[in-house]
Symmetry: C2
Subunit: 480 residues, 2 copies
């Protein structure tokens, strides 16, 4: 089922008509609309989870958890809207004594207009029709048109119906959320004059193609894409010696979680060449079990990706887990730091699925040379011990990542105020996050009002509202 | 004098070496460096202003004022760095009771790395080598490489020498500020792997070409361009009746200021068809005097631009001012709203220089149809009277602009916390400002630290520093 150009135009005409209603909606109304969408999704979980499981093979437990994550996300954004800091309210009073005299200026952020969201295969709820991009765009005050992922079409349609109905029943205009299907419709969507920004989670090649369409428009728009990430992990000699087995256990769990299909999967793990870490991991992996991958395309791409790595003369197979016929079995590979520094384009390409590459380093210099070849990533993890000098290693890791971990593993992304899910290219195309409260900033633009009469100001900038909202006045932050 | 590819590589190697020093510099040091640059520029004004006047013909009074604006800008950013809100410090404490348990996360913004700045012809100080883009990039903690504008090469060189020396004398590393010259060097600069973001002020065609290079890189970078703006003004029937003469006087001053070479020049002014406003303006303009334009290219482009407008069958010449031989004389043109709605690509193209186009409207519907054709602008101005219903007009104006004025004229851009200098395409390529405190956000990216020991956190995120800085903790804003 693909959306025709005529259908696309009709959908975008509705979104365009809804945009001013969303833009002028009160924060209280918008919070209520987001919560109505969350409630409707929670209520529909029994219907949606089986559809999702049939289409993605991710299993009921994981999918029920993901519904909760998705509705929690919508509710977090409702509270972000209510709190009001996201408006960045700023007032500079007039100053007749300044040279030149300064007029009054009041500034806030306003929604950019209709947003396109391209949903992901690997999180059919949390990064899909009603996922983080949609939640943050709606919170900003923008209607959303979602391009369904071909991996879960029926789930996408039902989710869109349920959320659109809930929004309308709560008082939002029609055209608040719509769905389009098919690659051609997606390409047309990101180039459509009505669309003012786009969010994307997916592959490097797909994201790059859409980024090029968005930036190549006669009127370029911001394209917030999350494209690919190898999520480097460094285990220091002291950490390997002190808690090598515990770390090996953590890695075995993390790289096989969701059958290795998390964008934060630890894909490359730097370990001391002469530690027992590798043997510890090798002992654990045979007991791990893989599972079915999300789509037939991903299923056939996984062995190709592994073969591509194993084709490098430096790479050996450390251990494998088990899987049913036609499913993907976990596999651990190993190489050395010199090979990574020499051929990063081969050894550091993201491979979706339950595989991780150990990189043995013989010295700090060896490690740092290889880290310099690591591309931008969503996360970087450093397992070290107190008292070790890790300054240079840490500097290299944080220059390449948006989230730096010092304990635990990168799979698992808390939806909070301080989350950062994004990093240097190719992890993302932007200097923003796609998860957490500040994701809303992607769909807002600043407007300043100069010498405005109170009654012509947006409500949030009037004196009465300022008394109830965090703002900055004459350079000083003021809390309500 | 053009920068060779070898020279460019050497300059960028220095910038790359300076980047980590800037990134890890303390806020106090960075503020001191910015103030040292400001002091050095102020001290060199007597040397620099004559060079600027010879190269740009803008006159000593204006240029001395612009030096003050430029150094004030550097000092504002020093205070922004000291205040610390720009770091967006955010902490979420660990929560073992959450499902799943939540680790501690601490987030701040860090500099993206070396920034390219493309300077403008029309503000040889304030939007040039040491202008707003440079000041905000340095404030963020990034070294800067400036592409000199060919209209003021000697001034660019001396400014770069003075500022680079002042920065180094204050303790900043070498490579903190460098200059490149020539179009080819500029194109290579924005594509160089060391450069992580770019700021630009200039023409639509030049900005678009550089935007395409920046977004077309194998690793695209953000390109913050300010490209072109017609800055619509609406005068309502009541305003024209009540204070038409005063408004005509204001417009005559504003569109001729700086010989019409401000990016915020009111280029298109919607007036009631049957008011006396046009006659009032026509009476004033013959007494206005033009002047020399910035460069030979702009000098020859101005009559072409005027001829392009006058070539439209709807356009008539209302009045002209005077000018010396070879200089540009002010000119006021007029058309009607229907023609603007029908041929916006002709009538609403920015024309750099002392020209403005009156657009007569016969009704609200007439006005609104024409406003819908107005492209994104830096500013929009509404001159109305209390009690008038201007909701729809205002809605159209604010959807097209980054700053909305209700008194005065858009020329004159205060450098403050709440300024917004940027608007929908083609005014700018981004959802940010290039003037005012928040311009710093363009050159920062977020990084979150998960479960980090205090001693491995960036200083600003440690408990001790948090006590002295504005931050958000568990969703709640906290002031020091």
């Amino acid at each position: 089922m693909t959306t025709t150009p005529e259908q696309l135009d009709a959908i975008l005409a509705e979104a365009a008509a809804a945009a001013p209603v969303w833009a002028s909606s009160s924060r209280a109304d918008r919070a209520a609309w987001l919560r109505a969408a969350a409630d409707a999704l929670d209520a529909a979980a029994d219907e949606l989870v089986p559809i999702a499981d049939r289409e993605t093979r991710l299993g009921e437990t994981r999918l029920r958890g993901e519904v909760g994550r998705t509705t929690g996300q919508l509710r977090l954004f409702a509270s972000v809207v209510e709190e009001g800091s996201y408006l960045e309210l700023t007032v500079d009073d007039a100053d007749a004594a300044a040279t030149p005299p300064r007029p009054e200026l009041r500034r806030l952020l306003v929604p950019v207009g209709p947003v396109a969201v391209f949903s992901a295969s690997n999180f059919p709820f949390a990064f899909s029709v009603a996922g983080g991009d949609t939640a943050s765009a709606l919170a900003s005050g923008a209607p959303v048109v979602v391009k369904a992922h071909s991996g879960h079409p029926e789930l996408s349609r039902r989710t869109a119906e349920i959320v659109a109905s809930a929004l309308e029943a709560a008082g939002a205009p029609s055209g608040s959320l719509a769905l389009v299907e098919g690659r051609e419709a997606g390409n047309a969507l990101v180039q459509h004059p009505v669309i003012q920004a786009a969010g994307f989670t997916g592959s490097l090649s797909g994201g790059r193609a859409l980024f090029d369409l968005a930036t190549g428009r006669p009127d370029p728009i911001p394209f917030y894409g999350e494209l690919g990430s190898v999520n480097p992990v460094v285990v220091t000699a002291a950490a390997a010696a002190t808690r090598g087995e515990e770390l090996a256990q953590g890695l075995a769990t993390s790289f096989t979680m969701g059958v290795g299909q998390f964008c934060t999967k630890p894909g490359v793990v730097f370990i001391p060449a002469d530690s027992g870490f590798e043997a510890s991991l090798a002992a654990l992996v045979p007991a791990t079990t893989g599972g079915p991958l999300l789509t037939d395309r991903i299923t056939s791409a996984f062995p190709d990706g592994v073969a591509h790595l194993v084709g490098d003369p430096s790479v050996e197979v450390v251990a494998s887990g088990t899987a049913h016929e036609g499913e993907a079995a976990p596999i651990v590979l190993a190489t050395d730091a010199a090979a990574v520094a020499a051929r990063p384009e081969v050894l550091l390409e993201e491979c979706f699925g339950p595989v991780t590459l150990l990189v043995r380093y013989a010295s700090e210099a060896d490690l740092h040379a290889a880290l310099r070849a690591v591309p931008g990533s969503l996360t970087a993890t450093l397992h070290s011990e107190p008292g070790e000098d890790v300054a240079e290693t840490l500097g290299l890791l944080q220059s390449r990542a948006g989230r730096v971990l010092f304990a635990g593993w990168p799979t698992g992304v808390a939806v909070t105020w301080s989350q950062q899910h994004g990093g240097p290219w190719p992890a993302t195309t932007s200097l923003h996050t796609s998860v957490g409260a500040t994701a809303i900033r992607r769909f807002l633009r600043p407007v300043a009002y100069q010498s405005a009469p109170q009654e012509l100001l947006p409500e949030a900038l009037r004196d009465e509202a300022l008394a109830t909202l965090p703002h900055r006045r004459n350079g000083v932050l003021v809390l309500p």
